[in-house]
Symmetry: C2
Subunit: 204 residues, 2 copies
Amino acid sequence: MVEQLDGIITQKSFEIIDSEIGKHSFTAEEYAIVRRAIHATADFELAQLIRFSPGAIEQGIASIANRKPIITDVGMVKQGVATMIAKTFQNPLICAIEHASTPLPGKTRTETGLLKVAEEFPDGIFVIGNAPTALLSLCSQVGQGLVQPSLVIGVPVGFVSVVESKMLLAQTPIPQIRIEGRKGGSAVAAAILNALMVLAFCNG
Amino acid sequence: MVEQLDGIITQKSFEIIDSEIGKHSFTAEEYAIVRRAIHATADFELAQLIRFSPGAIEQGIASIANRKPIITDVGMVKQGVATMIAKTFQNPLICAIEHASTPLPGKTRTETGLLKVAEEFPDGIFVIGNAPTALLSLCSQVGQGLVQPSLVIGVPVGFVSVVESKMLLAQTPIPQIRIEGRKGGSAVAAAILNALMVLAFCNG
């Protein structure tokens, strides 16, 4: 194992989180995801903020194992999941913002790119760690029946439109994992997908 | 401006942070950095945890403007700063882990790569957002007089060796910006460097 020491450090980190998280009612698979998100941020508050729609994990695992395309909003999320994808199911990995050198009028670059790639991969796994505008647009596409993602990891971070975008996602019937409120981010998005990929790989 | 809407959203986000952060004693330049870190995480606790060594910001700005090489520990940090670097001073940008396909015995991949690139760029700007092992090694190199970084942004995240690595950094005379405790991460590291680049660019 070329990454032996890294693996030992991760395992030790997980044990520390286990010893500090206290009582919770997550299933084993939910907890594997929560723990990895805490590992990536040292922020135990995420355990209070995470939401899983019914069946989201099972659907996510199946979609990953079926090599559905994975679409990230920004490059940091793509970078954060690329190694794990390469080691496991080699899903196609697409970054929305890379598909928009110029934004459409009144839209952000990420949103513009998201609209393009959603058209091409309407049943992909969407991992949004940064841009609420991308998540809002994706939800609008869902509402119009234009796309039907296999899973949405909806964890944009920040102060403008972030809470609203997650509330809109919550109202869709799409399988989803969210972080409620303002928190989230690229590292959280990558951690959630990476945890799902480990579950898919070890269950396979 | 191709990114007009993105800029407006960032500005609005900064105004929300201004209205919520409460009383503080940061200088204007320190606050520009703190605000961007909060913007990237929605975590106001960072305002309590950030530490600037005397002169670190001035030294950082000068080093950026002098196009010193910027060395990140992992790819997510590199990805998070690449756009701003390209738009401003075009500093050489090196990612330590990319320089270690196999770890040295008893070392992590990031640490192995860091040792290689520190030898090549001993006075670079080091931005550590993930790997405490890389920060520990860098501090050890400083202690031995082998390297003298222009600035260290020391914000690894996590549960094993993270607090210790920051305490060791604090004991060196190297200009530094740290996040005390377990928190930090790629997004925080990128935000701090990006804020410094904006300061360097606007002051220039």
